[in-house]
Amino acid sequence: MDATFIVILVIALALFFDFTNGFHDTANAMATPIATGAMKPKVAVTLAAILNLVGAFLSTEVSKTISHGIIREGGDGGVQITPELIFAGLMGAIIWNMLTWLLGLPSSSSHALFGGLIGAAIVGIGFTAIDSGQLLSKVILPAVLAPLTAGLIAFLATRLVYAMTRRYDGKPDGRAGFRYGQIFTSSLVALAHGTNDAQKTMGVITLTLVAVGAQSADHTEPQFWVILVCALAIALGTYVGGWRIIATLGTGLTEVKPAQGFAAETSTAATILASSHLGFALSTTQVASGSVIGSGLGRRGSKVKWGTAGRIALGWLMTLPAAAIVGGLAAWVAHNFGTVGLIIDAIVGFGAVLFIYLWSRRSKTDFVEAAVADVAESAFAVDIPEEIEPKPIPARIEARLEAQAEAKAEAKAEAKAEAKAESQAAKNEAAAKAEAAAKAAAAAPSEETARSEAAGTESESNEGDKR
């Protein structure tokens, strides 16, 4: 088959993968601000799309990890990867992704991509095609460590946020203010998503270009047009995916309170951005889930539900090897049957996509819920009681509150005593006046003037009492 045709096919497939990635991951970034009413859905989705686009341009380290790191390409005695194998790997990733969405299994499209490529390279070339050191330090270890890092940081941040805004005197604590903060933190998550996930597709396209000799193996920076089309594909996917996700937001996210969500999102964004900078190819979904679980544990009285947490972790562990098997199978078909094999791969792959698309139209909600479930479900991995005892007040603050209450009571008592004394004085005065008036009346011959004067003083003394 013509090499140019295969390259175009691979690029189209990679962009489709990029599109589905954006489509799938909008919920990670924008579901919380939409759910808590901090942002209108239209605004949130548009913003997420723009920030994904911008994020894709910010850094190219992750792209280099894929195009130059894990899979050895030509030059210095390395093995040559072919566009056919990349095509098979992508097919493996897409088929596995579609399968997990259909079954509602927690998965990671990034790991599916790595798995597919690795499986295809191993089957097509052999174990020498993989730089296992790079694979371990740039993909496998980050996959384990990044969610833990994000979780631990989110835990500490949540503790800090709650401690800093806690009020012991029962007055409003203003934690609703974190809703506005969430607008910015979710924007950061969208940006971070662009810096990591859009890069993966750029890496795959660059790898293909290097494999056919269109780009030197020594300069594996993605070319500008590659960055541009990948950024556009992920932004478009984000925009399109948002509409479907908004319509069926899961209830899992309501478990996340604004202050907690703020801490979790900051942790997610910081971890992904720092990792992208060092070229770690992460699963953004896994980092976001780690943060949600960590921040849940940061709230008082929370407990891990090991069953749910274990199911999520198992899904994560399965993704890479499972996609590798599917990718390997696709590579085996392409390798042994040549052009016919490639056509078989393409038919099976597009058939799977078409089938799942049609299926999703039939049972819309299931499909979308499965897509949203990944991060939302991690909120269910932590059990947070609805009603908890108020936190015991520290002695230092209790003493201060008591002193305040005492001072208040004292001031009140004083004010009361003063008011009483005043009214008493007014009464005395009024009585004295009345007496004087009565005396004057007794002395004066006219009765009428005396009565009217007495009435006047009486009303005056009444007023004094009221005061």
Partner: protein
């Protein structure tokens, strides 16, 4: 096959520092706003298909409580002004920290 463990520690320390800085500054800002008697109350969601975590009645109640707390604020107007200025300064610093973090990771700015 060597693993660059320093890189993992770098990511952890960088992410931790960034997160704690942003979160602490924002929380301090919220706290100072409350101290200044301006308790933030979330607006009700204006669309039907999202989950409204706060209902209109709850928002009303929260606004009432906020107004009551503001009325009973023991601070003098000058102190309130100071707290408010401090809150805005915290929010500004928080935004600056985020921008500085992004500046650090974008190679474009470093030639």
């Amino acid at each position: 096959m060597s693993v660059d463990w320093i890189a993992f520690i770098t990511v952890f320390v960088a992410a931790l520092t960034g997160t704690i800085l942003v979160v602490a500054l924002y929380a301090m800002g919220v706290r100072l706003l409350v101290t200044a008697g301006r308790v933030p109350v979330a607006l009700p969601a204006e669309f039907t298909d999202a989950i409204t975590v706060l209902s209109k009645a709850e928002i009303k109640q929260a606004s009432k409580r906020a107004a009551k707390a503001a009325k009973k604020n023991p601070l003098t107007p000058a102190q309130k002004g100071l707290a408010r200025a401090g809150a805005y300064a915290c929010f500004a610093l928080c935004a600056a920290a985020v921008l500085a973090g992004i500046y650090l990771i974008v190679p474009f700015f470093h030639g």
